[in-house]
């Protein structure tokens, strides 16, 4: 890499929005742009290329100023091959190759991670994961994203794939999950899971369930208590597998309810006798919606350093 490659382009691909940014080595977003996610893969690729070129023009630098392009994409994606395999969130993209498509158009190395891993990489570069190892990050949104880092790298399982922590079993019985099993962490403690449980009582949204629970509604409270119990059970399983030095909690639900969920995780840490309890912390993600963009951009720096 030439000395002037001080920038990277990060792309954060979600089901509704694609965010792009020029990012410096320390994780600062210098310039950004976003647009609605195209349903058609080829159209999305063309828009990403144009957006990167526009950002470079606005920053008055050439494409050679970029160490590369890093993408965090709603998974499952294959970070080795570049192929998207996410019929739920990106239905028209199935089988599209993000690395192959963008690499050719921009003549730059392209790196890919799933969005949960990208967010943890962002927190590792410039947020709550910095200096901790191993780290597990749980992102509570519509679903539950889980990511782990070990020895400074994203943890990869069989086939280079990302372990689906959201599908850890936490209840012996429970609502059926789209993975085919019942009682998964995600099906109980995610926004969609809480909303679904609330619908049985006529509640309109996960937000309403949280509000009613805080106001003392016993049905709403039982739903939130079960989500917290599921979180404590998932933390217990993670303490006896990844044994993280730090749990990081992020996502829309955590923005409003960090303390509730952090207390549930802490309860498990404090009850576990086979782990070094006083060396394990729980922290809130600090980069918010930028974590995925910053972490994606950092992929190019990690490879080029």
């Amino acid at each position: 890499m030439s000395a002037e490659c001080l920038l990277s382009a990060g792309i954060d691909i979600g089901g509704t929005k694609i965010a792009l940014g020029l990012v410096s080595r320390d994780g600062t977003i210098l310039r950004r742009q976003s647009f609605a996610t195209s349903r058609e893969f080829g159209d999305a690729i063309a828009k990403m290329e144009s957006a990167v070129r526009e950002l470079l023009r606005a920053q008055s630098v050439d494409v050679s100023a970029l160490a590369g392009i890093g993408i965090g994409c709603a998974g499952p994606v294959n970070p080795r091959t570049g192929v998207v395999n996410n019929p739920y969130t990106l239905p028209g993209w199935d089988g599209g190759n993000l690395i192959g498509s963008l690499q050719g158009r921009l003549g730059l190395p392209v790196y890919l991670e799933n969005d949960a891993d990208a967010a943890l990489l962002g927190e590792s570069l410039a947020g709550a994961a910095c200096g901790f190892d191993p780290v597990v990050m749980l992102t509570f949104g519509t679903g539950i994203g889980g990511a782990a880092m070990n020895r400074g790298e994203v943890f990869r399982g069989a086939g280079g794939e990302h372990p689906e922590i959201g599908h850890l079993p936490v209840l012996p019985v429970g609502p059926p999950c789209y993975c085919g099993r019942a009682g998964c962490f995600e099906s109980i403690a995610s926004g969609a899971g809480i909303e679904k449980a609330g619908a049985a009582y006529g509640f309109q949204s996960a937000r309403e369930v949280f509000t009613l629970a805080a106001a003392g509604d016993s049905n709403a409270k039982a739903i939130i208590d079960q989500a917290l119990e599921a979180t404590a059970a998932a933390a217990w399983a993670l303490l006896h597998s990844f044994l993280p030095e730090r749990f990081i909690l992020g996502g829309g639900i955590i923005d409003d309810h960090f303390q509730l969920f952090a207390d549930a995780v802490r309860r498990s840490i404090d009850a576990a006798t086979m782990v070094p309890r006083n060396q394990i912390t729980v922290a809130r993600a600090v980069l918010g919606n930028d974590a995925g963009l910053v972490g994606a951009a950092s992929l190019a720096f990690r490879d080029a350093h």
Copy 2:
């Protein structure tokens, strides 16, 4: 390391026996010795030193021929500090420092891992783990030892400690475990767990429970079925955390009943939809009782290469 350091001394410390060996780089045990585990730490250290010196004399090589000494010890042990903390298996050793004590006496680097990790390192150098990543090994004996490797290294959790996979929760209720929780993998599927469950029916040993189950005794069969169910549940949790490319099963119970337990693990792999099923294998440990000794010895080569 000088070119003549082609050997390492491996020491495998268990509750009843200490086995030592001179091991070559390819994992061959050239010369070995064993003796009963002393209840007194200082006495054990003195015997280990003498045994290493005797093996060297018998092999007609000087202490300078050793890259170092690697120890696998019944855990919990702290591989960084060298301190033993295992009141169950090594009651008189609590607080003793294996690294500090042996290093001074032999003037060689000393490395320490818990016995489950050492066994997996052995399988990685010269057995069933060779070429697979990540790998999880489950050793079914009196207890259940669990170990994981990732990117060629033993997986370390918070504080450098070893994740206690045997304490993964697998049943919502179940027999109480010494860790303070009920329903742990180890308390149901280990030799001690099976024996304890069998005692309620007057069975004398885990071996008798297996024999009677095979002969059709319904109580014995229910106990073994629960052990297999627990194993399948632990495998499911591991698939959604470490997501190993290979599960390796070892230990005394597996020597006789590999297929039963391998089938239980395979059932979980085949039922899990969020993992690359056809890239995950289940294999029997191949080094048997030598795995810990070979793996311990390999620690000195790993550091010195």
